[in-house]
């Protein structure tokens, strides 16, 4: 297995793709890692990523960008780009990634592999370096749904060391792969098929939905009106939490520590100035601002209220349907360097994945075709703790199609 470098591995460097932790070696395994080891998984290496999980292309790694195996001039997606690329290129049979705003699903879709973000709290965050505590989740990236089911089985379940981990029992995910989705009510949210989507993506996703209909699903048009607010909501809440979560990196206890003249405060400032990359600094500043007195009500508090509305939107829709089908991203893998000058343009590739994290729901990315030779992912979203249902839908689809078996030429 490959483990995204945001998860602690005992005795093995865990850098979070940051200069700040370039030489940091944890003294314990993250729970998800420990559980996989207990089940006999062998660690092949740590996965490159966007620094501290912040990014959508793995170009924010402090060390080097990872290249998409389908076209090495293009990004693999992010922030779990290294993990998705490794599985896609056959370098590892599966990997553990993390997803805060789409960081498992989007790179899985860009690299043509299968990824799953579990329900918030389904997998322990103990040992996961925190970016946005109320959004982060650990999940599998693998060649197909059946493999994802095996991996999820090993890592899911309550952990007393994570107060936010759910006490609910873990079902038998592999047993849920019946290959039968007849009667499944599948919702298609109209807001996820807006203007500006890549035509090839639209075509591939629409074809996939038709295929699911052929397999027995009942397709229904639904609406999630709060979709348009999810991006703004995310880019207030996530940076706010990250501004506190990354405050600990000050060179006092571990990690990069700036030495030189000046007092302790200056040393801390220089440590953070040199240790963090530009996107990380951008989000810390955004977050500190959103939480500051005088602005807290207008930004952070407001965003949390909008978040409740987003959650309610989904809950409402799931009274009518059993799952949702949508694109993972409006685009396919873009050239390296194409969006690095425009942060907002970069943020936009996650518009369809962000709302899911806001609501804490489980979702998958399933390979469903190509656009101009580049992989397209179908996103399946389910209600709280419906991983078994999503895995079955994906599995059934993968029994009837060959997209997930395609391999890049390298």
């Amino acid at each position: 297995m490959q483990i995204k470098d945001l998860l602690c591995t005992n005795g093995i460097a865990t850098t979070c793709a940051s200069r700040m932790l370039a030489e940091y070696i944890p003294v314990y395994d993250a729970t998800a890692v420990a559980r996989l080891r207990e089940h006999g998984a062998v660690l092949l290496g740590k996965g490159n990523m966007d620094e501290f999980g912040m990014g959508s292309s793995t170009e924010n790694s402090a060390f080097f960008p990872t290249r998409n195996p389908w076209d090495t001039g293009r990004v693999p997606g992010g922030s779990s780009g290294g993990s998705a690329a490794a599985v896609s290129a056959g370098a590892a049979p599966f990997a553990l990634g993390t997803d805060t705003g789409g960081s498992i699903r989007q790179p899985a879709s860009f690299c043509g592999v299968t990824g799953l973000k579990p329900t918030y709290g389904r997998v322990s965050r103990y040992g996961l370096v925190a970016y946005a505590s109320s959004l982060d989740q650990v999940g599998p990236i693998a060649r197909d749904a059946a493999d994802c089911a095996l991996i999820l089985q090993s890592i899911a379940g309550h952990d007393s060391r994570d107060a936010t981990s759910l006490p609910d029992a873990v079902p038998d995910y592999s047993a849920a792969l019946t290959g039968d989705i007849s009667g499944l009510r599948l919702g298609v949210p109209s807001e996820y098929f807006a203007e500006g989507m890549d035509a090839g993506v639209r075509a591939a996703v629409t074809a996939a939905i038709d295929q699911l209909a052929a397999l027995g699903a009942e397709i229904r048009e639904v609406s999630l009106p709060t979709t348009q607010y999810a991006l703004a909501c995310y880019y207030i809440i996530a940076p706010s939490e990250c501004s506190a979560n990354l405050a600990r990196y000050d060179g006092v206890k571990y990690g990069y520590s700036h030495q030189g003249d000046g007092d302790m405060w200056e040393a801390m400032e220089r440590t953070r100035q040199h240790g963090f990359g530009p996107e990380v600094k951008r989000r810390i500043m955004l977050g500190a601002f959103a939480l500051s007195s005088g602005y807290y009500d207008a930004y952070y508090h407001k965003a949390q209220q909008v978040r409740t509305l987003i959650r309610q939107d989904f809950a409402h829709v799931f009274e009518e349907v059993d799952a949702l089908a949508a694109p993972v991203s409006p685009v396919v893998a873009f050239p390296i360097g194409e969006r690095t000058d425009d942060p907002v343009r970069m943020y936009l590739v996650d518009v369809y994945t962000l709302p899911v994290n806001m609501a804490g729901l489980p979702a998958m990315s399933v390979p469903c075709g190509f656009s101009n030779g580049l992989p397209v992912g179908l996103q399946l979203i389910g209600p709280h703790l419906s991983e078994d249902r999503l895995l079955n839908i994906a599995h059934t689809y993968q029994q009837a199609t060959e997209w997930h078996r395609e391999r890049p030429g390298i």
Partner: protein
Amino acid sequence: MGCEITPSSKFDRKNYFYPDLPKNYQISQYDIPLCQNGQVSFEFEGELRTVALRRIHLEEDAGKSIHAEVTGDPTRSFMDFNRAGVPLLEIVSEPELHSPEEAIAYCRAVKEILEYIEVSDCNMEEGSLRCEPNLSLRPKGSKELGTRTEIKNKNSFQELIDAMEYEVKRQARILDAGEEVVQETLLFDASTGKTVAMRGKEEADDYRYFPEPDLVHVQISDEWIEESQPTLPELPAARRKRFISDYDISPDNAEFLTNTRPLAEFFDEAARLSGEPTTCANWIMGDLTRLLNTAEIEIQDAKVTPAHLNELIQLIGDATISGKIAKSVLDDAFETGKMPKQIVSEKGLAQITDTSEIETIVLQVVEENPGPAQDYRDGTKKAIGFLVGQVMRATRGKANPQLVNEILTRVLSTD
């Protein structure tokens, strides 16, 4: 303390940078604390004072900074993270204390309650109890509170008083000069007796509080409160009142006997078993305390139990042993843990109460000491003391002194 318990309280992050705070935020409770309102009552200058509480909340401790004053090395400071993350209970009163002495009385009352309910061992030297006064001055008659300062770093109640008294003078000097007091946190330097401003930018103006996403809400149900209520021990003030009214002991003695919870419980049980609270009190405050102090142990670690004391009192009461012998029996019981009856029989300490046996010895002593006997008959009544002493000696202290007195008096009077 009569607080309202919040049914669902949450934790918040208090964000500021300081090297002794590992995450550079402290998990605390901002707007929805565990408890709100409530009060603490205590005796002060002969009156009952009640101070209102604002809130009680949980937060995590930071680490400890170790600077040059301790290490002697001015070029470096050290951080001890051992206590970082340990939970603290913060009890905040309303600003209703009007003198350093009153503040101390309040602190002692709170400490007593916390010790009684076994929440903390309240050791100021070790840091398991920290009292942080917030102090301000205002012109007499003014209703508005002045600018306050907070004082940290006191390791004993004495230092606490010294710190407050110094700060009162310091603020008075500033205000008399027409200047303003700066709101800040001060450290008390015990070596100079002064308060000094804390080093570094520890006070951030804006803590950017937001709900702690790594912890869930703390839910406390009414059922749990109802179930827990009866398990709470009787608090010291209530217990003292009960001792005074039910057992008829003096307020000073009640104070002594409720000094610690184990001591109060020992006395309570012994009084209940024996039905003689005053006698129990005397034994506890006298001989038992002496034995505990010499052995340097607390009553809960002693081998002597209320049952021991009760048996001892019974043995005195039915005249099996004299008060004097009882002292040595107690010493023995304290050493060995054996019950008094067993000690008395093993060592043959039972009093001689057989009047004819005593009379025989009395007659013998009177015969051997004609001088003092005559003195008594001639009017020197206290000469009998010597003769009693002789009888006691002859019986190795086992004769019942009262009987000896009676018989001697009779013998001397009839002769």
